[in-house]
Symmetry: C2
Subunit: 344 residues, 2 copies
DNA sequence: CGCACATCCTGGAACGTTCCAGGCATCCAC
DNA sequence: GTGGATGCCTGGAACGTTCCAGGATGTGCG
């Protein structure tokens, strides 16, 4: 009755953590019943449920996910591969957690870092017997992704992959860049440059969107594409290249890159948006910083996360699913770095 | 002999992944032997070892970590709690992966996001039966950390915690800020302000370091502390507050915050470092961006990661350990945002 | 030749769960 | 009263590993 004190686990190695049997013994019921109660399944009276719960609390019982999952044959685990250095990936992961919240599935994160490549990140998750893989803008070649998809459901986020076996959740990159250009045109700009993303995921589509939109607006002759990339560094370099012959507006591959552009411009005493308008892409949390106040094209990360998690679970459960590729519409977010063209 | 083709797992739900027994059957040996071979333990002849390996490869066998760990009683898992929105945390996690590489321990990441608080992040790791917890600049009160440390070894990074039960790996924040101030004084500055980190981890120590260093340099009368924080936003706000009465130099709580400061300054046409010197803290990858070129005080993340992982493992194995608190020395990194004082 | 001692291997019992088949009351309808 | 539900509970067999106690062989040495 008052033997509680001694049971608080304190010497880590020594006394092992309490198990179902311990709780069962203390509550005077069977393991199976405790199991029921812990999972909130029907089949126990309110009174016993309370007693069991109490015993569990007193012992500080925590179910062992390994045993649990081993037995049930399912891990209810979704593996997430992402680049820990990318703020936009972080934003997506944040939303993935939110989306997974009420689904009964947990997320297992595996980061790609400068010293830990994608195959390595994936391998860890395979050993954990994840039921599906969510990959944020993976770099692996299509063939590798396809091979992986033969083992378990693979959902790729923020990158297009033309393979029948892998699901894709992305935003309409071309449309988004179209929005950006249209916005600039409406503001009176015609000399609109594009700093691109090189071989990054989505870069090709955004480049195409830029070209199309320019053509659509009768500005095909003014197309100007400057090689960029996906980091601040890349943006800064591109902006420096632009300084000699400034356009009146520039649509940048993504927000990180745009940050680099902005920085070089302000240092060079080029007024934004008075002399030049800048628009980014992603609506990365960077863009939202009030001091940057970057106009951008938002990817609906929340919606994409929901779609991706939903799709991954459907596949894991073997439910019939619809279209292999889910495309979220992008949305223009006007902030302070774009303004009317004051032609020189 | 040629029954290989059919065994490539393809319909996810249908045929379960191969187990030890499958491999054993195919190689014509016992499960136990396969187990030995997979773990590269002695006790099998070179020839059988080869045969088993071959069978495993053909089946695409991957050990099931759940079962493995359940049985062995150990998870060889180190839980990592970190803020996914913080670039510096990402830098540390990157190093943690590197440090864990050859230890036989794996990292289990659990992110803190705006919608997922620390207790929740911790809980996930507890269910995974991690053998120790690495917490990057946790916000939890000391009491909560102490309670946690009663259950399993806890190593806190980048924050001081005065509790006998939790290990701490941090850099000497006060010394680091001392270095920063000394550097500025050497450059001829005397009107040196400090934009602080409020209640953030390490902020109190850095504030103290600033005060001490000012006193030490005979500048006690010039002490000027401006409330800041740990984000770009906070830095921008602090910088705006400073504009009316600019000091000749400012030592900022961290690099993220310094980024905000720099941005506001350049926009206000204040030349850095000609009119004002700015120094950050952390040597976050932000600071290294060439276009920012921020002078800063580097925390030796690689060393801290090694120490933290080492300490966590020692505790998990129950080896005797030395001092509870490990302090890494900070290092001044001079880049482009600090320069000689041109007093007005 | 017999005995100890490697070396290579096997069988079966754990680990902490979940799941299934069933047991024992109690209750209701006929 | 009897038969069948229904509600609450139990015991024991999985799950895929590792670990331990041993069983074969072969080898060296007195």
């Amino acid at each position: 009755m008052c033997d509680y004190a001694g049971r608080v686990p304190s010497f880590h190695g020594e006394d092992r953590r309490p198990t179902l049997s311990d709780v069962a013994a203390r509550a005077g019921v069977s393991k199976s019943l405790v199991s029921l109660v812990m999972r909130a399944e029907p089949g126990a009276s309110a009174e016993t449920r309370r007693r069991v719960q109490e015993a569990a609390d007193q012992l500080g019982y925590q179910p062992d996910s390994r045993a649990r999952l081993l037995r049930s044959g399912r891990t209810r685990l979704l593996g997430v591969v992402f680049g820990i250095q990318h703020t936009f990936h972080a934003d997506l992961v944040t939303e993935l957690y939110a989306a997974a919240r009420e689904t009964g599935f947990e997320l297992a994160l595996s980061a790609v870092t400068p010293g830990r490549d994608e195959p390595e990140a994936i391998n860890g998750l395979l050993q954990d017997r994840c039921e599906a893989l969510l990959m944020v803008a993976p770099r692996s070649p299509v063939a590798a992704l396809a091979r992986l998809a033969a083992r378990l459901p693979v959902v790729v986020l923020a990158r297009g992959v033309r393979d029948a076996a892998v699901d894709v959740v992305r935003n309409a990159d071309a449309d988004g860049m179209h929005l950006a250009v249209d916005h600039l045109v409406r503001l009176g700009h015609s000399r609109i440059a594009h700093i691109d993303g090189g071989r990054a995921a989505g870069a090709a589509d955004r480049r195409r969107g830029y070209r199309d939109a320019m053509g659509w607006n009768g500005l095909a002759a003014s197309v100007r594409i400057v090689p960029g990339g996906l980091t601040e560094e890349d943006g800064a370099a591109a902006a420096r290249a632009l300084l000699d012959d400034l356009p009146t507006a520039v649509a940048v591959f993504n927000d990180r890159c745009a940050t680099g552009v902005l920085d070089v411009l302000t240092r060079a005493r080029v007024e934004v948006p008075a002399e030049i308008s800048v628009i980014g892409y992603d609506d990365d949390r960077l863009a939202r910083l009030s001091h940057l106040d970057l106009t951008t094209v938002a990817q609906d990360t929340a919606a994409m996360a929901r779609l991706a998690v939903g799709r991954a679970i459907e596949r894991a459960e073997g439910s019939p699913v619809g279209r292999r590729e889910l495309v979220a519409p992008p949305r223009l977010v006007v902030r302070g770095t774009t303004g009317p063209c004051v032609s020189r």
